[in-house]
Symmetry: C2
Subunit: 241 residues, 2 copies
Amino acid sequence: MIYVIGTGPGDFKYITPDALEALNKCEIISGYEKYINLIKNNFPDKIFKIYSMRQEIKRCEDALKLSRENKIIGLISGGDSGIYGMAGLILELANNNDKIKIIPGLTSAVCAAGILGAPLTNDFAVISLSDLLTPIEIINRRLEILSAGDFVTCIYNPGSKTRTENFKTACEIMLKYKSPDTPCGYVKNISRPGEFCEIMKLSEIKNLKPDMNYLIIIGNSQTYIKNNKLITPRGYIKKGA
Amino acid sequence: MIYVIGTGPGDFKYITPDALEALNKCEIISGYEKYINLIKNNFPDKIFKIYSMRQEIKRCEDALKLSRENKIIGLISGGDSGIYGMAGLILELANNNDKIKIIPGLTSAVCAAGILGAPLTNDFAVISLSDLLTPIEIINRRLEILSAGDFVTCIYNPGSKTRTENFKTACEIMLKYKSPDTPCGYVKNISRPGEFCEIMKLSEIKNLKPDMNYLIIIGNSQTYIKNNKLITPRGYIKKGA
């Protein structure tokens, strides 16, 4: 049995009872070092299998092998395992007899939105700027489309040590369609030590040098700032509902 | 003090410890009837203020008034309060002295994705088909853009008793750009009595008559079905990571 578990953005207060129950059932908990470290001390009796980045296929193959030997495995992802996490890959590699259950988790866009205000109250999109697996041309084309369509946009993986230019290019693309005054914001290290957030304009955020610990939200033409919170109105006040 | 709390899709196992702690602190819990009923029995000592649909402004104004009288109020939304919930409206109506804390919740797109497989493993968008607050022309234009851009799309509020045509029109728009064989699926009554899901093709799902209790996910050109699960690959296998 494999539980594919989203452990939320960091703090234990964001792990659902469903995820906690699944973690407790596991004999072996497997995942990327950073996410294992966030939960390890709370499960002193478990065996942990720690993997580095770019070992995703091996991580899933090992989990499938152990599960076929009747072990109960927890394959964890930070946030939700279905959003840039391990849920897709394990289902791609599994066969019809493998028992796999996906346990949803709080993804960082939702947590970041609540910290910044309410920027996702209307239609929005989620995009990753990591070009490890998706060609940068496709990422940039999607950014063009979302900007032309006036979507509020949540940006995952905006940068890393070696990937420093994608976010600046993304902002330049968005600035072709969106006002430089478009309100936006970021949260760094959501619910982890060093959590920090800031609200600013699109023309300002383009100078940010974000790493993998940033979640960035870019507003649309309706988004505004009130009491230092980002708000995208749903339309109740305009309608007088 | 107002806690704006996302109570998840229904079952208590999806309410985070953070949300539960906030609910326990409240003297008065306020919300739409359907969401109050899902949690009421677990909080026998609380005062509940139950509202119908289209009383959203009154609901927020009442909460602000009570909070200014030093009451502790919980304003609840199903799922996450920032995604088509009450977080935006309360921040719009609040002034700088009002104390408001947004407590994130599991939104139904994330839960539905886990039930259907892993359709959101790559970039995706979230759209509501309710034209109560957003003109149908804008909704349909956004659908055109998302389909042309090959985004996996999560559809909230696909229909209601009086609103039966928007979903069919949405499918017709998507079929202009997407293959009729595009894999998609829906989950009805997520984590509530009568939960039911189905995976099918875009050409088939257009005949569905969904109501407000459906969450629908339409795949992109990469989405496929394996072992009766929807999968949108992240790209690990293609890359050989």
